[in-house]
Structure formats: structure tokens, C-alpha cells
Symmetry: none
Subunit: 416 residues, 2 copies
């Protein structure tokens, strides 16, 4: 079953509002087994809405519009679809009673303008709005369906869950594609492609999408099948084969964050962690504490943005700073050892680098970052050369530091 | 000038990614004076992209596509537009040199797959990609323009600001509406509306949009006029009048962040800052250090997620923790005083609270947060009752702490 989503409103076109409704509908339709073939956003104008809806019906089995369904003057969806289907707007007494009842329940008089909510295209089926005034509409033409839904997210979601979703399931729609995630860090997208391209071409009934960001590349593996169970089996098998090609850069088979994986590994070893951050200014701590319950293994740490605090708070030696500089293997390691000792934790994790835009030199350019981890009997340190702006460099450095700890906890060697 | 935006990628259609690129382009094109007439999202398939691009050229003077421009197998935009314009893909040696240089700068061998980035449709003008590998493309056909841009937000934005925007301005497109921003924190949207509604109704040729978030409400003031200069004058006058009604909740008239404003105030007083964070785990430090050059006034601090580290690192008294608890006025104040002393800075800023979802009690529910600031001769402490999930509570707490410091530095009293 093919679906088109049409979102209506100037606020989407001029960028003053992000189109969250489209993402919601796309996700829900996909999980029901429909394939969303297009999303179109148009202004709240009768001609534009009618044209988009007509084009939607040419291509898709199900068209869902959202927006332009209120009772104010700039809501024109109902007129547009009435014209498209050649129907007149007539007063629906049942709907009017419902609208009146909503106002009465709140002891309010009903403003006249709300009568418009009960004017429906002849032959359209009203969809109850449990969260607002104007009902939604369902048109059927042959096998094609058009759902006309409101743009207020709460009303839209309530109507979709209570009416549209069960209606489509009643039509025999159910999930035929199943998705599984592989999360990687440390390998560029192009290298991942080289490693898995031959394999993915051979994998039957499987699609792979790359989702790159500054912290790594996620792979979305979609398996298809005649039944949801078969699709899930295909997805899981393909996920396993692809992930095997990308170890040890894979930190999660699923949607877990790296901080959650690291937290899990620390818990398993009954170990605790503290952090020392220079150029990242606290983001590593923020990441670790995004996980509820992280206080079991994460104790805290220090933000040693200045050299003075590197000495004062965690005992980095003045001589080391003088000889090697704040951005060096030696300082990173002293920070990790120092914070571990000062905070009395099992592991200490440290970051120091040049985030830019200023402060770079020929020897130590912007993007040069050292990360280090120290445990009771083990320590590691790595040099990174990161690219991008200040924000990207700092985000990528935190991710690499978390991965350094993950690899140590799993006893995986660092890449060469 | 009419514009159409085409965003490409299955991740948009199946809702696994919200279409932030469309919102960005919509907002930028609108502010340049173009009218965005449609946004279309299509899958990464040659036929779909070609059809959407062709339809875009029928309706709009400028078509911008984003996505599907990488070097992996699921990136097909280049093939689609080449076919639409009847052009062959040929190797562009200059572009290949640029791609090679990017890898060489990082001391990496260039994977063969990246040669694809330098295969360009004949006659298309490459647009330099300062943030990534694959260049963008510009096609001209008669008066119509088509910009083919990448989907990675950082690359897209860099290309739009450095190439597309100046190019369109060179074509005579210029802003007839001028925008000015007012940034507030600490006042709910409904209260802002009550304070300024009468005024904004009276203001000529001015629109005001509310942009609320967990850290405050921004107001976008748009002034209109016959010329850009006139529009700018209207926008600034209106901005001044509205901001006057909202003092002292206004922290910026422009797009400055609160951390930048606080940093400026610290610099003016030649003062330094350190932070002590419990429930926010490092975000306050991360925010302060987002500003390049912040090392002039921000020295660092401590993340005292555990009670033990509150004592160990900054000398919070065991007796205080026992008597009042970690989430209390007393502890917040001891943290601010302690970190100030330990880090030898002019000011210490501290946060302690219950971020949830667990850990709340009747006395100290989820969302209860104490923030405190200590200077040489002054100190302040405030209790917050924040709502929302863990992420919202932590973000809002950091913003409130920064504003506590701002008000102290400006000698503005705390609200009742």
C-alpha cells in the first residue's frame, strides 16, 4: 500500500515551524507496513491543496492531509477536498451536537464561528475529534482512501491512533518491512561502504540506509517478507551479517546510545568512572549523565579548561605542561590518572585538544585532540585529527573518548 | 521569485528523521524575499527525484534539492538531474584534486569510492563543499535555477550561506521584510503575550512570532517597508518598544546566546568563573565553553554527581549534606562558595537538583532544582520548580543558572 502525506500551512513553507507532523505520520504509516512515496507541503490555499490532493490520489492508495481544518478564515482544506470530489458542504446535525456539547461541558456559549466545523462535504465520513472542535474526514473513491486530519499535533495523533490506524489495519495493512539498527563510530561512511557493499548487494530482501553524523554512522537495515515475522527474521539475519563486517566499530545493534553501552559495561564490571575535560568543557559528563540511574557508576569529575586548574584540581605536573603542552599525549594521560585518583574511581577518562576556531599552531592544529583512559592496571591514549567547526570537533572528541573506554572495557585493541 | 524545496531520502519519508533541512531552507529563502511555494520529499530513487525536479521547474524560478549527493550507492540525485537536463557525467579533475587534498590533509589514503564525488554532469557548475567531500551543483536553464545541495546539515548550511545566498542576492533578490530577535528567559509565553499584546496590535507594519523552547521564549520581530532600509528601521523600532516591556527578562536583542552575554559581562568586569554541577552533569561548562575565546574568563570547575565528590572536590560539609540533603539551598550555596574557592575564581556558579525520572520524593519532587552563585561580596540562591522530562529539566536548570549570574553581574534583582 502506497501512501502520500500532504501537510498544509504557510508556517511550514517559510520555515517558522519544523514539520513534525510529517515525521510522525511517516513513522506510523511505515510501521503499519505502508510505503510513504512522497511528502508534499503546500500553502493554505484552495487551489494548491486541491492540486496536491489530486496528484496524491494519482500515485498513492492512501492520501493523508494535515492542517487547514480549523474554523478560522485561513483554513481551507475542507473547501479544497469538497471541490476535488465534486461535493457540496452541508450541515451535519450530529457533528453540530458534538461541537455544542464540547462547549456546554465547559459551561461556555458556543461562538457562531464554530458552526463551520459542522459543515461537511456530502458523503464524507466524519472522524471524531476527541481533542478539539473540528472533526476529521474520510473520503473513499474506489479503492483509494483520503484522510483529512487537523494540524494540531495532539488532535492529529489522537485521530490517527483512534481511527486511522485501526481502519487501515482492518483493511489488511500490516507491517511487511521490519527495521534493525547498527550503530558505528570511528569509520568514515565511505570506508563502511567499501567494507559492506559486496555483501549488501547479495543480501536478499534487504535495504540498507546510511545515517551519518559527526559522532558516527548508523545503518538502518530493512528486511522484507510475506509476514511481519518473516520480515523480522530477514532484518535480523542481515543485521548480523553486516555488523560482523564492521566489528569492532559497532557499539550497538539497536538504538542504544554509546553512553548507555559504556554505562552497561561499567555496571557489569561493578566499576566506577570519573572524567577530566579540557576542550569539551563538560560534554562528556553531560553525555554520561543523560542515562537515568547513571549515578550507580558515574561519580563526576573536573572541567579543567585552564592549565592552572589542571594542576590545582587533579595534579597535572607543571613540568609536563611546560615540556609537552596542555594538548599532548602526556597531559591527557596525567589527566586520566589524576582524575581517577582524585575522585577515587576505577577508571578515569580525559580529553584535551584544540577545538578552534583560534588557538591552532602548525604543530598543534585545530582539530588535534588527545583522549586517554586509565584503570587500575591498564591505560590507553590516542591522538585524533578531527575536522569541522568547533561544535563538531567537540562532539566528535566526546564520542571518541567514550569509544576508547568501551574498547578498553571490552578488551578490544585500538585501530592502527 | 518563487522557490520549491525538494528534500531527498527514505529517512524523511519513513519518519526516522525530521526534515530540519526543509525548515532551514524555507526560513532562509523567505528571509531573502523569495516565496516558497512547495516542499516535496521523495525517496532516493532516480525516477522520483527526476520527476520532482521537473515538476519543480514547471512551477518555481528556483529549485533547491538537498540529499542524495554522497558517494555511497544510495545517493542518486546527481544521476537524476543529469538525466533531467540531458547531460553526461564526466570526471572533473579540479574537483578530484580537492577531494584528494581533503584526505591528504588528514594523512589518510583516499578510498576509490570517492572518485564518484568528482563525476559531475557536463555544464553544471560545481559548488565548493568546505565541510565535506561531494561538491554541490548549479544548473541554469533560461531564467530558472536549480541548486543541488547535500543533505548533511553542516554541509548544506555552509554551501547555502557561502554560495547560494550571495548568488541569489546578486540576482536582485533582497529582503523586503527585516527580522530582529528578542531573546527572553524566565517568563512563560502566556505572560509575555499579556505584557505585549496591546502594544503589538498597535505597531504598524510589524509581525511578532513567538518561538518558545525549554530555555525561554524568543520573539521574532519582522518589520516591513518599501525598501530594505525602511523595513530594517521599522523592525528595530518595534524591537525596542517590545523589549522595553519585557525587561529584565530580555537577555539579548539579537541572536546572541545567554552564555555569550554572560561571558561578555564577565569580561567587562575582568572577572573569572568556575562552576559546580550535580544534576546537570557538565552542561553548564559545555554551554560556557561553546563561545570561542571563553578561556579568558571561564576556568573550569567540577562535576560532583555523587555526594562523595561534593565533599572531596569542593569541601561541601558532610553535616550540611546530612541535615539538608544534596538538593537544598544550603548545599547549592556551599557548592558555589566551594568551587569559587577551590578554583580561585571571582565567581562560583552551582546547580543541584532532581532531574528524574526516578529519585523524587514528596519533599523533593522531580524538577526541584537549586541554583546558587557566589562572588567576593555577594551571593544568591534560588529554588526552581521545573517541568518536563529529564532532558528538559536539565536544560532549563542550566539556562536559569546562567541567568542568575547575568542578573547578579547586572545588579538586577531576582523576580519575586
Amino acid at each position: 500500500m502506497k501512501a502520500e502525506i500532504i501537510t498544509i500551512g504557510e508556517e511550514l513553507l517559510d520555515g517558522s515551524q519544523v514539520d513534525l507532523n510529517a515525521a510522525y505520520l511517516g513513522s506510523r504509516l511505515t510501521s503499519l507496513g505502508a510505503v510513504v512515496v512522497r511528502i508534499t507541503s503546500v500553502p493554505d490555499a484552495v487551489d494548491d491543496i486541491e492540486a496536491a490532493a489530486a496528484r496524491g490520489l494519482e500515485m498513492a492508495d492512501v492520501v493523508i492531509t494535515t492542517g487547514g481544518l480549523g474554523v478560522t478564515a485561513d483554513d481551507r482544506t475542507k473547501q479544497a477536498v469538497a471541490r476535488l470530489f465534486g461535493r457540496k458542504l452541508v450541515l451535519d446535525e450530529d457533528v453540530l451536537d458534538c461541537v455544542r456539547a464540547r462547549f456546554e461541558a465547559r459551561n461556555l456559549p458556543m461562538p457562531e464561528i464554530n458552526i463551520a466545523a459542522a459543515m461537511l462535504p456530502e458523503g464524507a465520513r466524519p472522524i471524531e475529534n476527541q481533542r478539539g472542535t473540528a472533526p476529521g474526514l474520510l473520503f473513499e473513491r474506489g479503492d483509494a482512501l483520503m484522510f483529512v486530519l487537523p494540524g494540531v499535533p495532539l488532535e492529529l495523533r489522537s485521530m490517527f491512533e483512534n481511527f486511522v490506524s485501526p481502519f487501515l489495519e482492518g483493511r489488511g495493512l500490516r507491517a511487511l518491512g521490519q527495521e534493525r539498527l547498527i550503530r558505528t563510530t570511528g569509520l568514515p561512511e565511505s570506508e563502511i561502504a567499501e567494507r559492506i557493499e559486496q555483501l549488501t548487494r547479495r543480501l536478499a530482501r534487504t535495504d540498507v540506509a546510511y545515517l551519518p553524523s559527526v559522532t558516527g554512522v548508523d545503518l538502518k537495515v530493512t528486511g522484507r517478507g510475506e509476514t511481519p515475522a518473516e520480515a523480522a527474521k530477514t532484518a535480523e539475519k542481515s543485521q548480523g551479517k553486516i555488523a560482523a563486517k564492521l566489528e569492532p566499530y559497532v557499539y550497538a545493534r539497536g538504538d542504544e546510545s554509546l553512553e548507555k553501552v559504556v554505562g552497561y559495561l561499567l555496571s557489569m564490571k561493578d566499576s566506577t568512572l570519573s572524567v577530566a575535560e579540557s576542550c569539551t568543557g563538560g560534554r562528556l559528563g553531560w553525555r554520561m549523565t543523560r542515562v537515568p540511574g547513571s549515578s550507580d557508576y558515574f561519580k563526576g569529575g573536573v572541567i579543567t579548561y585552564s592549565d592552572d586548574l589542571k594542576k590545582r584540581l587533579i595534579g597535572v605536573k607543571a613540568a609536563s605542561l611546560k615540556k609537552h603542552g596542555a594538548v599532548s599525549e602526556e597531559t591527557a594521560l596525567e589527566m586520566a590518572l589524576g582524575v581517577r585518583k582524585k575522585c577515587a574511581t576505577d577508571y578515569g577518562l580525559a580529553i584535551t585538544g584544540v577545538a578552534g576556531p583560534g588557538g591552532g599552531t602548525e604543530d598543534k592544529p585545530v582539530g588535534m585532540v588527545f583522549i586517554a583512559v586509565a584503570g587500575e592496571t591498564s591505560k590507553r591514549v590516542r591522538e585524533l585529527r578531527l575536522v569541522g567547526g568547533r561544535g563538531s570537533i567537540r562532539r566528535a572528541a566526546v564520542q571518541a573518548a567514550l569509544d576508547l573506554l568501551r574498547r578498553l572495557l571490552l578488551d578490544i585493541e585500538e585501530p592502527g
